[in-house]
Symmetry: C2
């Protein structure tokens, strides 16, 4: 350790695993965004809460910035370390600490991978219902830091709904035990809630007590082909009113083409501009017949042009792959991403303006969009044409994002539905949050992290 | 207006309704606690958000404290004005502003009475599910300020779960529009969540966008008589595992005696030490039979000694009255109240210690307890004997509360489950929240209310 600050850290924590090899700095210094060049000072891999606290205190003394790091699957640059920060990876803190059958809670360390949380819950005959495509690599701490949503929000809500307690190390180095798994606790400000979605700028999530629920009811998966955009909200309203939806996911034919090119199997013949994958309770014959009835109504009214119901688990997985495979199929193209939301009732008006905007501003550029329509959440992926260089492409996209942010503002929407603000959307935060709110955020940040060592520059710039 | 500060306020807002008559000061200066002598400066009854903002700015300039005031049904002194504060009553701001069928949201002013919110939702064929005995007089703003719970938490959660957006005037006079009804919004700190349960110390809730849900399924109400305390958690576990519970409420025979003396009808003959009122889904014959089966199992195992199922809505209401009438039946005695919670799994151990403590510390004093056992929430009501004067009684209760707070601390519990801290439990906040957390609360308070004009002295003292 030639850096005297790191030497001091090693001296305080001789057992701490510290990485400084170039490959490690690159690996741990970035997330799924690829816009910044990783340049961390070092990677710390603490194994205990004590070690995390010592690191935070050390960082305060040396004025070293810390980037809390989970699975680094983020799409907003929240876990990027490009300015000599210490990356504090929770990956070794990935154990189950407790399962309580009476409380139906699972207590885990912050670095546990989402899929392991889900599997542990299943092993106890229960469900941790937050789910999305990055499940195999994202960490629960990161999920909490962005209040991750995903494909089951329409049924189960966001990560926020499932956190019964948090252990957090603040920027000042204090260890807080927030809410401790209580169902009812009206004893002052609920900092657990404040920490959820704070993107590592207030504290580091070292442990989480998660609520579990009953395993999902038997369900069916249906793929629908839609003739036009107007049909989308009609079909959603019809299905929501008559079925008990677990998911209602939307994608375009262009998105489908990428998934098919990536190896997925076509499930509906012919060309259709839009598709929906929906999953709903199908406990008995009556519910299964109701689903067919609803499909029939939609067909009759011309809102769907074709459809298929999965007849096996394998087929259900194949239908889901058409939606869940989109992000992966686009990944090699490193798309420019927007992740926006509006109220559900504002979706039709917003979609109309958004489509016009994208068509107008991205002529000749491939734009893939899809989303959690039942939550008012759309993902827009812009693919760089081969004849446009990266900086010019980025500049163009940023210009369009500014216009999109204006449109969102008019519709009362948000520039980040579930990915967080990070570095990517920092310039647009003002389209969603007022100047007064951002000033309050800066103030609260200073209370939890007086020296601003936790994830500085993420979410908002330090001073206005 | 002889007070020059009030004269200035009237000058700024000539239309503002201001009350200064002695009867008004007394009426608006207290809540359901009766421990403090009301002594507000005046009562302001603003009709608009603008007026609220002007009042807050005026208060900042004149260093006048404001007590935000809803239905004043609070049991912790959160709405008491005993030190020359301006009471800012929201009672004129009680209108429905919007109903959105697609979003399933209801937007109301902060002063709307809970029961009106419930009835408005029902009028739209939907349910606002937070419910408790004070529904006819408490306000939605007050519910939000304490994250009110009640009798349906086991099914529907606390008020927090049902707030999709808030309009709040901060202590600094800023108007914040928080979350604006979005399902997904990961754009920085969720101040909506921070404001919920902040007891009027960060901002005044002037509007709320509430989530609504499907109307409740057809249900049945059952009253159970239990032979002993050990049976309680067994019955709860059995019923929770086999039925879909909407409520599971517990009370003692002593509590029952007060309700009967207050005019309620006995529903089960004989003497039994403990009772449960439970409500559960009963959609079809199969579910109704399942309920009878579960009751039979409990009877067979000796966990219940008798029971009755309501055969009509009137009988269901009569059974519910046995539980819901307790608080009202005790009110003339002005009981000293505790409102405590532990994790559900900690209930048996805590109950055991709590019973011993109460028996030991309150010999010859009547202690009535009941609660939301499925949420780990118990209400303890201590009745003053006629031969003990008020100050001596209070001193005794405060001493026991300190012991109870220690017991709670050992069991990871909370000194306030759903009533809030207010003035009544301020001295015990440290049993539930750490010194570091309370310091952070003070810091956050300063960010939202730099001059400390909103509800000063409630929740915590201003400086440590």
């Amino acid at each position: 350790m030639s850096d005297p600050r790191l030497a001091d850290l090693s001296c305080r924590l001789p057992e701490l695993r510290l990485l400084t090899a170039a490959g490690d700095l690159e690996h741990y210094g970035r997330d799924w965004t690829r816009r910044w060049i990783p340049a961390p000072l070092a990677i710390a891999l603490p194994a205990t809460v004590d070690e995390v606290q010592v690191i935070v205190r050390w960082a305060n003394e040396h004025a070293v910035a810390i980037v809390p790091s989970g699975g680094r699957t983020g799409l907003s640059g929240g876990a990027v370390a490009a300015n000599g920060e210490l990356v504090l990876s929770l990956e070794r803190m990935n154990r189950v600490l407790d399962f309580n059958a009476v409380d139906r809670t699972l207590t885990v360390q912050g670095g546990m991978i989402l899929q392991q949380v889900q599997e542990t819950a299943r092993g106890h005959g229960l469900l941790y219902p937050v789910d999305f495509a990055a499940r195999g690599s994202c960490s629960i701490g990161g999920n909490i830091a962005t209040n991750a949503g995903g494909i089951r929000v329409i049924r189960h809500g966001n990560t926020r709904e499932w956190v019964a307690g948090l252990k957090v190390v603040t920027g000042g180095g204090d260890l807080l035990e927030l809410n401790r798994g209580l169902v009812k606790n009206s004893s002052g400000y609920d900092f657990r809630q404040l920490l959820i979605g704070s993107e590592g700028t207030l504290g580091i999530v070292v442990e989480a007590t998660l609520k579990l629920t009953d395993p999902p009811l038997p369900s069916q998966v249906m793929l629908l082909a839609l003739p036009d955009m107007d049909a989308l909200m009609e079909v959603f309203a019809l299905f929501r009113a008559q079925l008990s939806l677990q998911a209602f996911e939307f994608f375009t034919d262009q998105a489908l083409q990428h998934v098919l090119a990536h190896g997925a199997q076509r499930a509906i013949d012919g060309e259709h501009p839009y598709y929906v994958v929906t999953e709903f309770d199908a406990v008995d014959e009556q519910q299964r017949e109701a689903a067919l009835g609803v499909f029939g109504q939609a067909l009759e009214r011309g809102w769907v042009s074709d459809g298929v119901i999965a007849q096996s688990e394998a087929q259900a997985a194949a239908l889901w792959r058409l939606r869940e495979g989109i992000t992966e199929s686009l990944a090699p193209r490193r798309p420019y991403k927007n992740d926006v939301s509006v109220r559900i009732s504002a979706v039709p008006g917003f979609l109309c303006e958004m489509q016009a905007l994208l068509a107008n501003e991205y002529p000749g550029i491939e734009v893939i969009w899809f989303g959690h329509i039942g939550d008012g959440n759309l993902h827009i992926n812009v693919l760089r044409p081969h004849d446009l260089d990266e900086p010019a492409f980025l500049a163009r996209c940023e210009k369009v994002t500014r216009l999109l942010a204006n449109t969102l503002h008019c519709h009362g929407g948000s520039i980040s539905a579930e990915h967080g603000i990070g570095l990517v959307k920092r310039a647009y935060l003002e389209s969603t949050r007022s100047a007064a709110e951002i000033a309050l955020m800066r103030g609260v940040r200073k209370v939890f992290d007086p020296r601003g060592i936790l994830n500085p520059g993420k979410l908002f710039t330090e001073s206005s």
